[in-house]
Each structure stands twice: as structure tokens, then as C-alpha cells.
């Protein structure tokens, strides 16, 4: 095994706006192997979606500057031409969006929309594309696919639309699937069905999945590895178990604390993270989380506001925080104890 299937190295996505440069993603690196799922967690505006739009090359080139390296199966994507990207999109890598109603064209039938991706990349006939669309709808569990294939998106229910969206993304058996909050707009039972569907399809085809969400419960269900983003940077990464059970960054800890737990006592109040997400136009100095961090005063010499904590990754595990491992062990367990009593 030489290089990983997908490798993102020091990715920077900067938007130029009238007010200045917005550093939406500021030096992000991660790897993803085939058949694995990487969960990317973070608040709105943390750079999750921007990262994935950059992988597909869907950013607006007029105001976006990309830097770094994105290697998909040894093919560099940042320097790729639009034509090269067109051949990859929907074919080798594809994307599922959050709002399926807005993301599907209201003017074309479900079958046309699924079929045209297939036709574009295989050059097959309309008839073959239609047959393929019906087969895909059947595979994602749409009842009567041969009838529903001629329906328009607004005739589908929310869950069915998301299934159709998945069918569309998977029609060319992509090797990389980016799912941008695919279940956020759905109710919980449908959400579970969609997750199961994605897991089944992944097992069948060995697809690599990047799953973007702000819902740690969803991460716990589907991800192998987790990457926590804050203010355009990765603050913590590791396996799902490591990150969720033993977080090493105060922000991850805060995320866990702001989520109700089913196995704990029911009367424990949630403890949301104080403050609001950082401005990316004028980000906080040092550690971008320090203005909201409960433990910033525990680090000597104002290092949190003065010096950017580096993300040192050993065996895929790491957190960007100035606290020493001893401090974390003590402070984090106190925090956890306070929540359960």
C-alpha cells in the first residue's frame, strides 16, 4: 500500500470578499482509504462543506483561491482542468447534498436525472440509461421503481427524494462518495434507514465515504474515523471510539457535552459551548477556540491566545491543544463528573 486512496494535504480554501479574505479552510490534511468512512464534524461555518466542494472542484473560481494538494487515486485535483474534473465528478467521485428537494432539478424526472449522469459517463443510449435508473431506484429501496422513475422530485416524499439522490450519486459506482449532511433534513426513522442504506452500499462496493455532519449521534453510527473541524482547521482526529470516548480537545468535549446522552441520568442539563463560531474574516489569534474555551486560563503564559497549537498526529490520532496530557486527563474527567452528578 503506497499512498492512500484519498489524500488531502495542507488544503487552504480562501474566499476573497469585499471585506477581505475569508480563510474558510486553513491548512487541512487527512487521508481516507477505500471502504472506510470518515466523519467530519463541526459547527456551521467550520469549513466542512467548503472542504468537500473543493475536492469536487465545485467552488466558484472567480473568488476562491485553492492551495495545497488533493490526491484522489494519485491524481492531483487542485491543478486538474475543468474537463478532467467533469470526467471524475459523478463518476469516480460524487456527492449527496443535504436538501434533496432543492438539490434535485424540479424540471426533470427522477429517471432523467439519474440516467443523464450514467449517459454522460458511459455514453450509453437513453433506453439503457433508463433501465439503469430503474435498477438504481430499486437498489435504494424505492417501491415500484419502473413507475416512479417518471415522477418529478416534488412527487416524492422527503426520504424517497434522499434515496433518489443517493441513487443518482451512486449510478456510476463511484469510489468516493461525499455525503454533506444527507440526513439532517429527515426525521429520525428515515434517517436511520438512509444510514443503513449507505452502509449496505459501502459494503457492497467498497466505496470510500466522507460523511459531513454536526450530529455526533450520526457519527457514532456510521464513521470509522472522525475529524473535528473548528474555524477552518482540524482540531482533533482519531478513530470514532477514541474521539467520542476520550476526546483530547476542549471543543470536542464541548460538542459531546451539548448533546443529550441516553444512557446517563435524564435530569442532567445540557451544557452548550458558550459564545459563537469565530469570524473567518478576522479569526482569533493563536488557538481559534481560545475565546470560548473553558480551560484557556489553565495554560501558562497566554499561549492559547498567542501561539497556534499544532496538530501532531500519531497513528491517525491527535489534537491541536496546548494542554498537557496530564492536565487534560484531570480537567476533562472533572468536567465529565460534573455532568453526571
Amino acid at each position: 500500500m503506497s499512498t492512500p486512496f484519498l489524500s488531502v494535504r495542507d488544503l487552504k480554501v480562501h474566499f476573497s470578499t469585499e471585506d477581505g479574505i475569508v480563510k474558510a479552510v486553513d491548512g487541512l490534511s487527512f487521508d481516507l482509504e477505500k471502504g472506510k468512512t470518515l466523519g467530519i464534524v463541526g459547527e456551521s461555518g467550520s469549513g466542512k462543506s467548503v472542504t468537500n466542494m473543493a475536492i469536487l472542484g465545485l467552488h466558484d473560481p472567480r473568488n476562491t483561491a485553492l492551495d495545497g494538494e488533493i490526491l484522489l487515486d494519485d491524481k492531483e485535483l487542485i491543478s486538474a482542468t475543468e474537463k478532467e474534473l467533469e470526467r471524475l465528478r459523478g463518476n469516480k467521485m460524487s456527492m449527496i447534498f443535504q436538501d434533496a428537494l432543492a438539490s434535485l432539478s424540479p424540471y426533470h424526472t427522477i429517471g432523467t436525472q439519474i440516467g443523464e449522469t450514467y449517459r454522460k459517463h458511459t455514453g450509453c443510449s437513453k433506453k439503457e440509461a433508463r433501465t439503469r435508473a430503474i435498477e438504481m431506484l430499486r437498489r435504494v429501496g424505492i417501491p415500484q421503481p419502473d413507475v416512479r422513475v417518471d415522477d418529478y422530485p416534488h412527487q416524492f416524499s422527503g426520504g424517497m427524494r434522499q434515496r433518489a439522490m443517493i441513487a443518482m450519486a451512486l449510478v456510476c459506482d463511484p469510489e468516493l462518495l461525499i455525503a454533506d449532511e444527507p440526513t439532517t433534513a429527515l426525521d429520525v426513522t428515515v434517517q436511520a434507514q438512509i444510514m443503513d442504506l449507505l452502509k449496505d452500499l459501502q459494503q457492497e462496493f467498497g466505496t470510500a465515504i466522507i460523511f459531513i455532519t454536526h450530529d455526533l449521534g450520526v457519527i457514532a453510527d456510521i464513521a470509522d474515523d472522525v475529524l473535528v473541524m473548528y474555524g477552518g482547521r482540524c482540531v482533533e482526529r482519531g478513530t470514532k471510539k477514541e474521539v467520542l470516548r476520550a476526546p483530547q480537545h476542549p471543543y470536542t468535549l464541548g460538542l459531546l457535552g451539548s448533546m443529550p446522552s441516553l444512557d446517563g441520568p435524564v435530569d442532567v442539563p445540557l451544557s452548550p459551548i458558550p459564545g459563537s463560531p469565530p469570524s473567518l474574516l478576522n479569526p482569533p489569534s493563536g488557538c481559534r477556540f481560545h475565546p470560548r474555551c473553558t480551560f484557556a486560563d489553565k495554560v501558562a503564559g497566554n499561549r492559547c491566545s498567542g501561539e497556534r497549537p499544532l496538530l501532531e498526529v500519531v497513528d491517525g490520532r491527535g489534537a491541536a491543544c496546548h494542554l498537557t496530557p496530564e492536565q487534560k486527563r484531570e480537567l476533562f474527567s472533572d468536567y465529565a463528573a460534573a455532568r453526571t452528578h
Binding site: 463518476n91 456527492m95 447534498f97 424540479p106 424540471y107 443523464e116 449522469t117 454522460k120 443518482m168
Partner: protein, 326 residues
């Protein structure tokens, strides 16, 4: 779809009925008596009564309206003009000619003027609007946007006179505005209408440029356009099959309404270029207190608007399945 059309056509008939009744009432609300005018300087009560009878305006208002309506469907007999076949719009008070004949005589001028201008402004308006949307924020977009803003604040009676002076009188590039039936001489038909087309289009083009640009810009930012790109479709496919499809609806709507209004008579344009179309006819009918002519022109104008409304709704349903299946 069939039921939708039947419903719309019935609705349109009711609207036309109301409009014609309104014109009738408004006409008689005016203090001038058409019979008195037609009667002339030496007018005895007897002749006045005779004129009334001849013009078919001696009966009470509702009876007159009923006779007029009946004439539309079964024809009508006049004491002075004789029989008038259905659809009968009566005889002009002024020229004593059948109204329908006069309208049919003038309509081709208005149709030629409107459709020709529509071709010009739709082509250029939508074309520049699309270009501006593609080149969003760049020089071309800024030029197109500001030019259209200037053009849309122009007035036909100013531009028309100026264009005639410059292009026709001074530079001798184009012909003076005139109407020659297409069937008589297509070349003269074209050259005679070119200046009015260009002038009338100027203002419309500007509106269509701005509308197309804003619709396309909005449409291009839609999620489904992003999805289409994420599927690997080429930018051309994305632009025309997805973004333009979404932008079309409002443009078709406005276009249908504009065309309906234009077909009812482009009053200012026709006056500026002395073209004898429906617009001029309606102005004259008002000036002359010519009720049958006025009713006829209003009916045709309202009919054009109503018909194009139905066409717009039908086209809209074809463009957007959400309308069709709702």
C-alpha cells in the same frame, strides 16, 4: 390539461363580457351625445331622433348592450346600414363602415409591428442578459447592465423622432416608417417597419436584458444547478438545461403579457411613426365618440391580452411540472 384550458377560456369569456359592459357604461357616462354630433349644425328634434335610430342608440342602455352582444353571435339588422353578419361589431359612427372590416384592415399593421419588435427584443434582450449573467461582475456585464438601465429610461416619442431624424433624414441609412402589407412586397414591408421595430425594441430589450440577467444569476445559484455540476455535466448543459430552464418561467410570463399589450395597439409607437394600426384606431375612436369602433378595438385588445395570458399559463405548465401536476 384539457379541463384547465376549458376553465381558462370560460374565465376569459367572462372577463371580456365585463370589459365590454364597462366600456358601454363609461361611454354613456361621458357628457357628449354622439347623435347630437352626427346630426350636424341644423338639428331638429325629429332629425336627432332619426339619427339615434340610424345609429341604433335610441333604446335604453341595457337593450343596446343586449343587441350589441346578440350581434356578436347571430348578426344584427340595422335600419340604416342593413344586415350585418355575425360576428357583428356594428358600424362606425364616424365612417359608417363595418367596425370589423376596419379592425381587420388595421390589425396586420399592429401584428407586424408587435411581432417584429418582439423577435428583435427577445433575441437581443435574452441574449445580452445571458451573456451578462455568464460574465457576472466583469466589464461586459457592467456595460450591458448600465446600457440597459439607460435604454430603459428612454421614451419612444423621443427616441423615435431622433432615430428618424438621424438614420432616415440625415444619414439615409434606413427607410421612413411606413406599412406595406407583407403579401404585397416583403422587402418594403421589412424596410418600412425596421425603424419602428428598432425603436420599440430598444426599451423592451433593456428590460429583458435586466430581467434575464437577474433570473439567470439567481437560477445559477440554485442547489440543483450545483448538483448538475457535481454530476459531471458540462457547463454548457448546466447553463441551458438547468439554469435557463429555471429562469425561463418569469421571462415567458412577462413576454406573454407584453405581447398581449402590444397586439392591442402600440399607441405611442404608432402615433410617433404615423402607422395606422389598432392603437391609432382606438385614439381616433375616443376622439370621435365612436362607440362601436371603441368597443371593437377594446374587445380585440382585451382579447389579445386574455389569449396571451392563457398561452403563458399553458407554456408555464409545460416548463414547470410542479404547475402542471398541482
Amino acid at each position: 390539461m384539457f379541463r384547465f384550458l376549458v376553465r381558462r377560456i370560460l374565465g376569459a369569456a367572462v372577463i371580456l363580457l365585463i370589459i365590454s359592459a364597462l366600456v358601454f357604461v363609461l361611454f354613456y357616462a361621458a357628457p357628449r351625445d354622439p347623435a347630437r354630433i352626427a346630426c350636424g349644425k341644423v338639428c331638429t328634434p325629429e332629425t336627432l331622433e332619426l339619427v339615434r335610430k340610424n345609429l341604433a342608440i335610441s333604446d335604453p342602455l341595457p337593450v343596446q348592450y343586449w343587441e350589441w352582444l346578440k350581434g356578436l353571435f347571430v348578426g344584427r339588422d340595422y335600419s340604416s346600414f342593413g344586415h350585418c353578419n355575425a360576428p357583428c361589431l356594428g358600424y362606425s359612427f364616424q365612417s359608417r363602415e363595418p367596425v370589423l372590416d376596419t379592425i381587420l384592415d388595421r390589425f396586420p399593421t399592429t401584428i407586424s409591428l408587435s411581432l417584429g419588435a418582439a423577435v428583435v427584443f427577445l433575441t437581443f434582450g435574452v441574449g445580452t442578459g445571458m451573456l451578462a449573467a455568464v460574465k457576472q461582475g466583469k466589464a461586459l456585464d457592467k456595460i450591458a447592465s448600465s446600457a440597459s438601465l439607460i435604454a430603459s429610461s428612454m421614451q419612444i416619442y423621443v427616441v423615435g423622432v431622433f432615430a428618424t431624424y438621424l438614420l432616415v433624414d440625415q444619414l439615409h441609412l434606413l427607410d421612413r416608417a411606413s406599412y406595406t402589407p407583407f403579401t404585397d412586397n416583403p422587402g418594403k414591408w421589412f424596410s418600412g417597419l425596421l425603424v419602428p421595430w428598432l425603436v420599440l425594441s430598444l426599451i423592451f430589450t433593456a428590460n429583458y436584458t435586466r430581467m434575464t440577467r437577474s433570473q439567470m444569476v439567481e437560477s445559477l445559484s440554485q442547489d440543483y444547478v450545483r448538483t448538475a455540476r457535481a454530476k459531471g455535466l458540462s457547463s454548457r448543459t448546466v447553463f441551458f438545461r438547468f439554469a435557463w430552464r429555471g429562469a425561463m418561467g418569469p421571462i415567458v410570463t412577462i413576454f406573454g403579457l407584453d405581447l398581449g399589450v402590444l397586439l392591442g395597439g402600440a399607441i405611442i409607437t404608432e402615433s410617433t411613426f404615423s402607422l395606422q394600426g389598432l392603437g391609432m384606431l382606438s385614439v381616433k375612436a375616443v376622439q370621435n365618440n365612436d362607440l362601436p369602433m371603441l368597443l371593437g378595438v377594446v374587445l380585440v385588445a382585451a382579447g389579445a391580452i386574455v389569449v396571451f395570458n392563457i398561452i403563458v399559463d399553458t407554456v408555464y405548465a409545460l416548463i414547470d411540472p410542479r404547475v402542471r401536476l398541482a
